[in-house]
């Protein structure tokens, strides 16, 4: 029998009971839409996590001065005074897996501009910090290396600081006071949002040259952190080891003793976030697949009813020469058409729902083509799998009995 004829017969049989066909399809529609929407949501979450991690900087490592315990009392990180500017220089010089590094220290300070004041973190660092963190400027630029050498009172501010301190005023070139010292604003950073790690507001920061911070604000010559970018993501693991061994060496830490610093690799966090969101996606997709299977059972149920209802038709077809194969094919195609149409509608709805959800959550919209292809394939497979038994049942009917069926 020609495939066109079979399809025509299938379409007509389905059109005969429009309401029933639509309700049967609904199971597949919901199943397919759910799979696509859930996978898209999962991948959106994954992409969101990736973005947050990428926002911290590419292939970034964070070296912090370590904790010490003195007389049973643990101090927080940054309590040691052993991490110094020369360590940063050595890391750049001696670790091949390191591309760039920037030294830093942080202090909390009250900042005043006009009648407004704001308590924020003031960080001392060097200009390459912004490159390492891939942090762009919405206005102005970074202070220069020369500013550092001359211990200049210049500052770069984050978006939150700009908003709270300057409001409608253009901050560029304005002078604000940090701990009563005047600082000229030379740059305003673009917003970076909350960090994936701690969840603190990264835009609530002020950056000044490290020398200025050390000499004029804190009076402490040591560093609290060094930010490092590795040559590649793979290289970040190597860099981690190189930095650790270099610093142990420089700090003369004997084997067996604790480090007085720590090196945190952000690739680790990226991996963890990746893993978590992938698990999340798989979980969502498998829950959604269950509805697809339920939809398939719906198809089987209706096809069984249809076979019983059309027993006489089957008998007629057999009497005029339809083979078992012809009859089986007819009902199988009907089930497949049913599930494929349902799958098609489900894909459309799934894409729509994906957009809706990801947009509501403010995530990047990622409609997975893999999920669409898989859903289409799967709905076809559902049709074959759940259509097979009813079709077999139809094909096995005895033509004499079938013709007599009232």
């Amino acid at each position: 029998m020609e495939i066109v004829a079979i399809l025509r017969i299938a379409m007509r049989a389905l059109a005969r009971n429009k309401m029933r066909s639509a309700l049967t399809m609904l199971g597949i529609i919901i199943g397919v839409a759910a799979v696509i929407a859930m996978v898209s949501v999962g991948q959106g979450a994954q992409a969101q996590a990736q973005q947050q991690i990428a926002a911290m900087g590419s292939n970034m490592l964070f070296v912090g001065s370590g904790t010490i315990s003195r007389g049973g009392m643990h101090m927080g990180w940054g309590a040691t005074k052993t991490l110094i500017y020369e360590d940063e220089q050595a890391i750049v010089r001696e670790c091949p897996a390191v591309k760039a590094a920037a030294p830093g220290a942080t202090a909390s300070a009250q900042v005043v501009f006009g009648n407004d004041n704001w308590n924020t973190r003031v960080n001392g660092t060097e200009p390459q910090y912004f490159d390492i963190r891939t942090w762009a400027f919405q206005e102005g630029a970074s202070f220069s290396q020369a500013d550092g050498e001359s211990v200049a009172n210049v500052a770069v501010i984050g978006e939150t600081v700009r908003k709270n301190l300057f409001g409608a005023t253009d901050p560029l070139g304005q002078t604000m006071r940090i701990n009563n010292l005047p600082f000229k604003v030379v740059g305003v950073l673009v917003t970076k949002g909350t960090s994936a790690a701690g969840g603190d507001d990264q835009d609530d920061n002020i950056f000044v040259p490290i020398t200025t911070l050390q000499k004029k604000i804190t009076g402490q010559p040591w560093l609290r952190w060094i930010i490092v970018s590795a040559v590649s993501r793979q290289g970040s693991y190597i860099a981690q080891q190189q930095i650790a061994s270099l610093l142990r060496d420089r700090h003369r830490i004997r084997p067996g003793s604790d480090d007085d610093f720590f090196v945190r690799n952000l690739a680790d966090m990226a991996d963890l976030a990746d893993q978590q969101s992938r698990l999340f996606t798989v979980l969502l997709a498998s829950i959604a697949s269950i509805s697809l299977i339920v939809g398939g059972i719906g198809i089987m149920n209706i096809m069984l009813v249809s076979v019983t209802e059309r027993t006489r038709e089957i008998g007629i077809r057999m009497a005029i020469g339809a083979t078992e194969g012809d009859v089986q094919q007819q009902f199988l195609i009907e089930a497949i058409v049913l599930s494929l149409i349902g799958g098609g509608i489900g894909i459309a709805i799934g894409i729509g729902v994906s957009y809706l959800i990801t947009q509501t959550l403010g995530w990047p919209v990622l409609v997975s083509t893999t999920a669409i292809a898989a859903a289409a394939l799967f709905s076809g497979a559902v049709g074959i799998f759940f259509g097979f038994y009813p079709a077999r049942k139809a094909a096995r009917l005895d033509p004499i009995e079938a013709l007599r069926y009232e």
Binding site: E313, G315, E324
Partner: protein, 261 residues
């Protein structure tokens, strides 16, 4: 009423000596739970090309079983059945389906048309299983409908046709693959007497055109339109007699009042 003027619509005449149907020592049992029903108890019969045979008998006489066997819908428990000298007893289900498709045309008591399917599409149905092109199938379907006098109602649905017209559609469907035999199982059972005679006129015309017709009926006046009657009783052939003074259905129709008026 159409007259038969296209002998090429039917299989070429084979030598009359060849039996188109030859059944020898045919037995058929059914297992119905504990009991065994012996439906055919040694049937021997030959039907030749161009015959018009009426099968008679009460219900339970074995005539329906015989028709199912002849129609290749069922197989014998023992004995032989040759259709056009081919031993179809040995055929697989698939091959039997092909024989039903190409060699046998079925006409049923209840018409058995597919509802919500036009007359033309109903007639076309056997061609879909015959591995011929769609165009050829359509051409044959048109031809068969013209032959039974329903050329004007090709696109009507069964529900829009009278019983007699529906049965003509069924006859056209039975003819569309140019079968060797037309098997009709109580084709007039659901029809009034005038329409019954009209249908018998169609059969007589087809038979005159060379088609072998086997008809099951329990109405003696219907069986008189055949050339030969075979009466079944208790699974055996009781009488096998040629019909004398066979009336022509077209003549009978002239003397019947038209019901429509």
């Amino acid at each position: 009423m159409a007259t038969i003027s296209q002998p090429d619509t039917h299989p070429a005449q084979a030598p009359a000596t060849n039996a188109i149907i030859r059944v020898a020592d045919a037995h058929k049992y059914y297992e119905l739970g504990e009991t065994r029903v012996h439906a055919l108890r040694g049937v021997n019969v030959e039907i030749h090309r161009g015959e018009f045979v009426a099968i008679m008998g009460a219900s339970g006489s074995g005539k329906s079983t015989f028709m199912n066997i002849v129609g290749c819908l069922d197989t014998l428990s023992s004995g032989e059945y040759f259709l056009e000298e081919i031993d179809v007893q040995r055929f697989s289900k698939k091959d039997l389906a092909s024989i039903r498709n190409k060699k046998i045309g079925f006409v049923f008591q209840g018409f058995n048309l597919l509802s919500r399917t036009t007359a033309l599409e109903n007639v076309e149905l056997p061609t879909l299983y015959a591995h011929i092109t769609h165009a050829e199938g359509q051409r044959r379907a048109h031809e068969a409908l013209e032959l039974v006098g329903l050329g004007e109602r090709k696109l009507h649905y069964p529900s829009q046709l009278s019983g007699g017209q529906q049965q003509r559609v069924a006859i056209a469907r039975a003819l569309v693959n140019r079968p060797a035999i037309l098997l009709a199982d109580e084709p007039t059972g659901n029809l009034d007497s005038r329409t019954s005679v009209e249908i018998m006129d169609v059969f007589q015309n087809l038979n005159l055109g060379g088609l072998t017709v086997v008809l099951v009926t329990h109405e003696p006046d219907i069986s008189q339109f055949a050339t030969r009657t075979i009466e079944f009783r208790d699974g055996r052939i009781r009488h096998d007699t040629p019909v004398k003074n066979r009336p022509l259905a077209s003549e009978v129709l002239k003397n019947l009042p038209t019901l429509e008026d």
